[in-house]
């Protein structure tokens, strides 16, 4: 398999920066209030590439709400800093058809590519966006699209095959095994992964499908000076706490985390609490040991710094933004052993520990709760890992190197 030339892990030479490019980023939603992982990824990447001097455009839909996909924002072009945002009307979602196909896909009932395409059409997609790409696609040096599961991504690939670069944000789920995923990987001029395990998963699922693969990832800034005590005062949190940040959903393993923590509290009475931050259908049971809070995102870093540690129980991540943010703040993380990506980062960076069952969870919490030196050491190692591998400078150079490696150059 080709590729790999842009990997810049320590000790490996990076390619020289390439010329100013005209790049489009395709994402199903683009708005400051949208906090989905892929959408954040798209927004941050587009903004940083624009700051670096590239001629950037974001191609997105008028939708904001990921449940209704209603066109809430006006179609047309607007500016966001030094990049251009082109919004196109999303097709009306067909919830019934999507749910029916969704059931069949999840239960692995045989479906063909046409069914899969109907499923993608029934979700977030925009024919107007595709028309724009079909007409104007040749004017871009590269079209980066994410995530693999969005109709906007799949149909963009059909519109601009030669200039299409996929940022899959792939994790192991039934959809990852479908034919359209393999087709997307195959059609991409290069696939830009977030981590090595994500790349390995894609190569395992679709051997030989990827022409060029690069691990690029997403960048993280060191947090500005922040007062953790201010967070405690503002949100009335006086006790030590461990933290979960993300969607409160079963597929993120939140029920398991709640179960493990309540068992921990039944065996270790004390003032340690679990703070849950995020929206979703998992309503924590009434308990003095659990607290669900909503925060102003400006307080995110202060909250992370105030936490004893961050728990990432999800086994479905392609990068885990919040884990990187916790490390950027110097806090250790505890992850599920079955989460390949999160565990990989912990193994590589020595910034966290992993558990496979409750007794291990208990033992890890005991150690980190009572040994602040260890917690501090893990947090510092994680911080170094983020600085060394996921600084914006590194990430952008990897991305530019990956584009240059495929022969993309300014017109």
């Amino acid at each position: 398999m080709a590729g790999g030339g842009a990997r810049d892990f320590i000790g490996v030479a990076e390619p020289a920066p390439i010329r100013r490019l005209r790049i489009a980023v395709v994402t199903p939603r683009y708005e400051e209030t949208v906090l989905g992982g892929a959408e954040l990824h798209a927004r941050w990447l587009a903004q940083r590439l624009a700051d670096r001097g590239h001629d950037m455009e974001v191609l997105t839909t008028c939708a904001v709400d990921g449940q209704t996909w209603r066109n809430e924002l006006p179609a047309g072009s607007t500016g966001d800093g030094n990049l251009l945002v082109r919004r196109f009307r999303a097709e009306p979602p067909r919830f019934g058809l999507r749910a029916e196909l969704d059931r069949r896909l999840r239960w692995e009932v045989l479906v063909d590519l046409a069914d899969e395409e109907r499923w993608l059409r029934a979700g977030p997609n925009s024919r107007a966006l595709e028309k724009h790409l079909a007409r104007q696609g040749h004017s871009y040096d590269a079209v980066l699209a994410l995530p693999y599961l969005a109709g906007t991504t799949y149909f963009s690939a059909q519109a601009v095959q030669q200039r299409f670069f996929l940022i899959p944000c792939l994790h192991d789920e039934p959809f990852a095994r479908l034919q359209f995923t393999g087709r997307l990987l195959k059609q991409s001029r290069a696939v830009l992964f977030n981590s090595d395990p994500e790349r390995a998963l894609a190569e395992r699922l679709f051997p030989g499908a990827i022409a060029r693969a690069h691990v690029v990832g997403l960048g993280f800034d060191p947090p500005p000076p922040t007062d953790a005590q201010l967070f405690r005062r503002n949100y009335g949190v006086s006790e030590p706490f461990i933290l979960y940040v993300g969607r409160l959903e079963p597929h993120k393993n939140v029920p398991l985390l709640i179960d493990h923590f309540l068992r921990y509290k039944s065996r270790r009475p004390g003032d340690l609490k679990l703070l849950l931050v995020g929206a979703g259908e998992c309503e924590p049971p009434p308990s003095p040991h659990l607290r669900r809070i909503e925060i102003d995102w400006a307080d995110r870093d202060a909250m992370l710094m105030a936490a004893l540690l961050l728990v990432q129980p999800s086994t479905n991540e392609s990068l885990s933004i919040v884990m990187m943010q916790a490390w950027a703040c110097g806090r250790p993380v505890v992850v599920h052993a079955a989460g390949e990506v999160a565990r990989y980062h912990c193994e590589q960076g020595n910034g966290g520990l992993w558990f496979a069952n409750y007794p291990e969870f208990e033992a890890i919490l005991d150690r980190l709760h009572h040994d602040s030196g260890l917690a501090h050491g893990l947090g510092k190692a994680g911080q170094t890992y983020v600085q060394e591998r996921y600084s914006w400078e590194r990430v952008l150079r990897r991305l530019e190197g990956a584009l240059g490696d495929t022969g993309v150059s300014a017109p």
């Binding site: 892990f9 320590i10 000790g11 193994e347 590589q348 966290g352 890890i364 260890l374």
Partner: protein, 177 residues
């Protein structure tokens, strides 16, 4: 507390070699191995309650894990949850929809109750059966392991006897026999 220290770095990484590990003086893998060994030691000493011991066994025994899943999923309820529709497009008709759903679920509950009871009985029986099968399999595995050990000990004994026999001369062998 002493933490697992990283071993000293050996030869420098080649330019295209595997990624270099980061982390000044902590080895997360070694720490997790320590924790696993600690958990194992406590389990062997019986320091965990029985439910934790079973769970611990299940983490390395897929049959037991599946049996526990069946057990956990064996509870059914006749109560059908009625949630408020969340779609904005149904905002004005939502109270009526909720009322309709409540009445329908209450009406249906009377009829479905008996079926749910049968299902519940079937599920608890299935859970009991799978638990028994898992238990029996575990016993067989233990017996098999013991038999293997015994067989290996016998094989070693036979080998040693054959070696001793070979050391003896033909006359002595005949005499012994």
């Amino acid at each position: 507390m002493e933490h697992a220290q990283r071993p000293p770095p050996d030869t420098p990484q080649p330019a295209e070699g595997p990624p270099v590990l980061i982390g000044a003086d902590i080895d997360a893998r070694a720490l997790v191995d320590e924790i696993k060994a600690d958990v194992q030691r406590k389990a062997e000493q019986g320091l965990y309650p029985s439910d934790l011991l079973i769970e611990l066994r299940a983490s390395s025994d897929p049959v037991l894990a599946a049996a526990l899943d069946v057990r956990d999923a064996a509870g059914f309820s006749t109560v059908v949850p009625v949630t408020r529709p969340i779609r904005a497009s149904l905002r004005y008709v939502a109270p009526g929809v909720v009322l309709f759903k409540r009445l329908t679920s209450k009406g249906l509950s009377w009829y479905t109750k008996w079926m749910v009871e049968q299902t519940h009985h079937f599920a608890t029986s299935t859970a009991a059966a799978t638990s028994a099968i898992a238990e029996r399999l575990a016993q067989h595995d233990e017996e098999l392991a013991r038999s293997r050990e015994g067989q290996q000990a016998l094989e070693r004994r036979v080998e040693s006897l054959e070696a001793r026999l070979a050391d003896l001369g033909p006359n002595q062998q005949a005499h012994r026999l």
